[in-house]
Amino acid sequence: MNLTLKIWRQKDSKTKGQMVDYKVTDISEHMSFLEMMDVLNEQLVNSGEEPVAFDHDCREGICGMCSMYINGEAHGPDRGITTCQLHMRMFKDGDTITIEPFRAAAFPVIKDLVVDRMAFERIQQAGGYISVNTSGNTQDANSIPISKHAADEAMDAATCIGCGACVATCKNSSAMLFVGAKVSQYALLPQGQVEAADRVQNMVAQMDLEGFGNCTNTGACEVECPKGISLENIARMNRELMKANL
């Protein structure tokens, strides 16, 4: 298929960017979106132009590196996937595809489609861990019984790969789905409950400090999340913060 791409080009974090049109031809519908971007970049390199910078790593939907806002949606028009799992069969011959970086004040553009998502790392550092010493004195897993329901919910929350699609898709650039998932992942398990109050207070404080917006419960984050993280994690985080303050 032949496509027109409208891509955000920005030389560096200080330079003003703009949308630039490109044509790509003979794109197979079996290609992944990132492979299509590789074809474009090969074309650009061959013609002596600067290739489009974009984030990618594992290319199998695990690492959370690939971002991109494609045709007005984080990770494009498919559901439950990252951009590397988006396939060209989702588009038609002759389509114009708009490709932008994830937009949020807390996710500044570094170059082209690459954004700085270190804010998520700093939120994690503020409390997204447990301080139990697990080296050399590991307990038997069965010595702390955990209900199936709690284990399942904690595991679901832990599937968050921190890609930032929730922030990118939120009209308020809120990070509450990410923080809610990280808070829940520990709050649901006995090992995490020891530091639960400090954790939620510190992570929420860091989230606010990073300049993320406020959740208005539109639910867009849940729909666009490649791992299907539920809004219930935000409700749990709200409960945890209220509990920590009362």
């Binding site: 045709n71 949606e73 004040a105 308020n172 809120s174 208005t216 539109t218 867009a220 729909v223």
Partner: protein, 228 residues
């Protein structure tokens, strides 16, 4: 605790608490107003009780005014903060793909409701405050009207085509605001009940029936005047 209400989540909780209070107020306001359709005397009696009861006038009324002002001010404060957090806008954004129009436009339905409340205050609340607190007339009567004045004042306002249309349009915006706000308030309070079918259905029923009821009251009095 003051630190909690300065946090983003604390502000959400404060918005939800004021929303619950306003939704309860709306329900009792509707319950009284619908009486005006069925019985002028009953409406007058209840209105006079509400308008002269010291507990309502001196305790609940200030709380209500605070709740209304707080909900609007905090709504605007959060909207501005969220706009700042958003940074640059997308060249192409398909919001309809993942969220409802109501949820994305709470600020605009809120602005429409604010405009209505200003009109509503000019129509009813300011004259009422003037009569009771400035002129000191707590009798609930007026010249040329037999018995209490409340039903006459209400029906008189709906003689105007423009005012009736303005009220109907405002109630449609109220419906849109409530269709997202009702369940959203539960989520903000940390309850997952808003995601359960039962509460979603109760929310839909409340959000549609109450504004439609107010529309019915406005149209009833208007048409009764026009057709008489």
């Amino acid at each position: 605790m003051s630190g909690f209400f300065k946090s983003s989540i604390g502000r959400k909780v404060a918005m939800a608490l004021s929303a619950f209070f306003l939704m309860f107020f709306l329900l009792q306001h509707f319950a009284i107003n619908i009486l005006s359709v069925f019985s002028a005397d009953a409406f007058n009696e209840v209105s006079h009780f509400m308008g002269t009861n010291p507990l309502i006038q001196y305790a609940l009324q200030p709380v209500l005014i605070f709740g209304v002002v707080f909900h609007f001010v905090m709504g605007f404060v959060l909207e501005l903060k969220n706009k700042k957090a958003q940074g640059m806008s997308y060249a192409k954004n398909n919001g309809a793909a993942n969220s409802s129009w109501m949820s994305r436009n709470m600020i605009w339905s809120g602005v429409a409701i604010l405009a209505f409340i200003i009109l509503h205050f000019i129509d009813f609340w300011f004259p009422e405050i003037n009569t009771k607190f400035i002129q000191g007339d707590w009798s609930g009567t007026m010249e040329g009207v037999e018995g209490f004045r409340y039903h006459e004042e209400l029906t008189h306002k709906f003689h105007s085509h423009i005012r009736t249309i303005a009220y109907v349009v405002a109630f449609i915006f109220l419906m849109l605001h409530l269709l997202h706000g009702f369940t959203s308030a539960f989520q903000s309070m940390g309850s997952t009940a808003g995601r359960k079918k039962t509460l979603q259905n109760i929310g839909k029923a409340y959000s549609i029936i109450i504004p439609l009821g107010f529309i019915f009251i406005a149209l009833y009095h208007h048409l009764k005047y026009v057709l008489s």
